[in-house]
Every structure is written in structure tokens, then in C-alpha cells.
Amino acid sequence: MKSLVLENLSKTYFDPYRGTQFTAIKDVSLQVGEGDFVAVVGPSGCGKSTILNMIAGFVPISGGRILVDGHQVKGPGPDRGVVFQSHALFPWKTVAENVTFGPKMRGVGKAERARIADEYLALAGLSHAAERYPNELSGGMQQRVGVVRALANNPDVLLMDEPFASVDAQTRMTLQEELTRIWEERRPTVVFITHDVSEAVFLANRVVVLSKGHVLAEVAVPLARPRSWTRLVEDDGFKALSNQVLQLVRSA
């Protein structure tokens, strides 16, 4: 896993029907070190998805630079794994085939792919569902597959855009704890987008608060690991940090 640098990033959308312009991102700079976990929060429409889509290479940038491991980003690539809110699993592939899609594209052989599927499905607690199709899974299971599908391809950076926003509160807490466990075990470099302040504080080493297309503040989260909801729910440090970030988001 390698570092990610955003330098004076900006994005202006053109509306071809009205002939107008809209600057969604103005001059955002950010450094995410190797093995770091950064969460980006902010009110709806502040440009969180826009930043992530630019890093992923899905939308072209208007100004500035994006560097992954020192190389400038040009379009989507396997060095940046993406976890989508709408899981985006391939409906015609089994869970195991979804998880090993990246390795298959790299030309990894069948036997090795089977090993990768075993390893990552075990990591997600989904070994029993390997041969099922995505539409036969619950929403929480689909998101787990989405996460390990991205991880199994060994990206330099893992990009996640509100991956747990569409599951119920209980499942969301379980998924957050599992993601923390996986991160603590493997230390991937992660950029995690969310509008849920406690989710950001629970997961990240650092929370970036975005406001109208620029960085309002960065808040370090020095909470001890391993983290679990049972411990943090009553933790004063967690509460104080969550409050601090919440105030920032509301002022944004």
C-alpha cells in the first residue's frame, strides 16, 4: 500500500444545457500516508463524491494534481480500489468470482484465484456464500463482498464512498467493526467518505471536514486500537472528538 497526495485539486462542472459552470471543488490539498486511514466528512453537496471520483479517475480533474505512489493519476486503474455505495457487484458472477475479478484481469491462474477467494471470503466471514449470486445475499453481505473484492486486488489506495450508508443501523455497526479489524490487520491506505460523523471518528486516524468544496479543518483521532463499539460508545475521548467534528460539520 502506497501514499496518496492531492495538490491544489479543483473541479468545475459545465452544464451544457444551461451553458453555466459550477465549481464543486476549489483548491483542496491533502496527504494520506502509506497505511493511513482518512475519513472525509461534510454536508450533502460539499463535494465529497466529486473528490473521490477524481481520485478514482472516473471524472477528469479541472486543476491541480493527484499522485498515487508518486505517479500522476490518469483515468481509473487497479492501483486504486473502489468500494461503491451501491455495492456494484457483478450480478452474473458468483461471490467468489466477484472477489477474484481483479486477480483474473491480471492473469492470475485458477488455483491461485481459488486460494485468494478462500482467504478474502474468510476475512469477510463469507466462506459459506462463495457460490451464491449477489442477489441471493443480504445488503450487509453484499457490502462485505464489495470491500474484499477491492482488497483482494491489492490496491495502493482503497477508496470508499459511503459504503455502509444503505444498510440498517445494527448491520452498519457490525460492518464498521469488521472494517476496523481488517484495517488493523492489514493496514491498507484508505480514504473513506461519509456523512456520518461517529462513523468517521470510529474508523479513521484523521477526519477531514469539507465545506463547499474546500477543506475546513483536519481533526486527528488518537483513539487507541483495536477499536470496538462496546468500548467506544461510553468513551469520553470518542464523545469529545465526535462533538468537535459535529460542530465543524454544522458550521460548514
Binding site: G57, P78, A88, L89, M105, Y133, P134, N153
Partner: protein, 269 residues
Amino acid sequence: MIAPLQLLWGYYMRWTVRWPALAAFVPFLPLIALWSLIVSLGVFPRAFLPGPLDVLSKGWALLYKGILTDYLADSLARLAVGAAAGMAIAIPLGVFIGLNRRAYEISWPILLFFQAIGDIAWLPILLVWFGFGLTTMTFVIVYTVLFPVVLNTVLGIRTVKPELRRAAQSLGASRTRILFEVMLPGALPNIITGLRNGLGYGWRALIAAEIIVGTSGIGFLMFDARRAGSVEEIVVGMIVLGVLWYIVDSWLLAPIERATGQRWGLVTT
């Protein structure tokens, strides 16, 4: 009153699960009974409206002489050749148009225009160009199969979720791999729907073409029987058409649909 009916329905459901062929046959029993009744009332002369048994014995005779099987084989071969050629052109063309925005903008009006000129509307000019022969018949079938498959393939490709394409790109898939691993499977349910429609229309167009152009085939059999004044033979032809389509659709096309789109949850039943 309700209870015995429900009981009967329960039996029916159980038996049809055990012998699915029953489910295809039993619904026709009341129709056949009605037919017999009308014939036995003698409203129409027998030569105009033969009864089920007359038709059955005529069908048996035709089968016995080998005419029915020969003609059936001719019709099916024509449909198969025409449909295969139609698909071979339509699927790649549909994929290309579906992937390429400019090709889509340019070709869509043309596709709609030519789709509207129904298959048999081409027959007069085809007869002028190619005469009464196989070329004319093949053209009509290819033409008929082509448009539903192209239009549905375009639709299928264009409605593949953009996140799926993005996910594949982020997992390192090349453009070719994305085509085969994402776009084609994503469009498959639509392609199959197009095929189902195309074959249905193609089958009808073939019969029409055989009636006008044919020297063999089921359509020819029916039209020839008219000349000989054998209503039984005409009815045999009509029944064969229905049965054959039922077999192709429910034993070939529907299972493919179930094994793909429905299995993947892309279409809801």
C-alpha cells in the same frame, strides 16, 4: 361449490408438477370440446369446418406419407439459417451502436424507420429483385429477426449500470475484458428478449413468405391445401404452427431466460 373446485385445482397443480406436459395440453381440452360441439351441431358444412377427429386423421395421413415431416424440416431449416444469420449481424451491430454514442445518434432513426417497414411489406420489391426463391425468403427472415435483436441489444448495452463499468475499470479490466465480462452479460437478458421476439416475428414472416413464394414448407402446405380444397390440411398446418412455437418458446427460450436474467436477479418474474 367453492370447495370441490379448490380441491380439483389442487389435484391439477399436483399432477402438472409431476407431468409438466399436462400443463401444456389440458388448457386446450375445453377449446377442443367447444370445437367438437360446434361441428356436431352442424351449423357449417363439414367441408368448411372439419371436426377434431377429421383433422387428426388428416394429420396422421400427412405424417405417414412423410410430407408433413419434410415440409416441417424445410420450414425449420429456413428459420434456423435466417435466424442465425440475423443474430450474427444483429448482436455485434447492436453492441457497437450501444457502446458508441455517435453511432447511436446517427443510426437510431434509421433503425426505427426500417423496423417500421414490416417484414412482408418487403415481399413485393423482393419478388421483383430476387424472384420466387430462397433468397427472397431468407432475406425476409433475416430482416425480421435483425431489428428486434439490434434494438434490444442496444438497449441492453446502454442500460448496464455505469458503476459496474467503473468497478471493472478500477479492478484493472481492459476495454476488451469489460466488453466480455461486463457489457455483454449485462445486456444478455435484453438480447434474449430480442431473440425471443425476433424468432416469433421471423416464424410468422416465414409462413407468410412460404405462402407467397414457397415450393415447400408449412406455409406452402396450407396454401396448396386451399387450392385442393382440403380444409383439414389447412387446419393441420395451423395447429403445427402453434405447437411448434410453443415448443421453441417454452422448451428453449424460456429456460435460457430463467438461467440468466432471472437467476442473477436482473429481471423480476
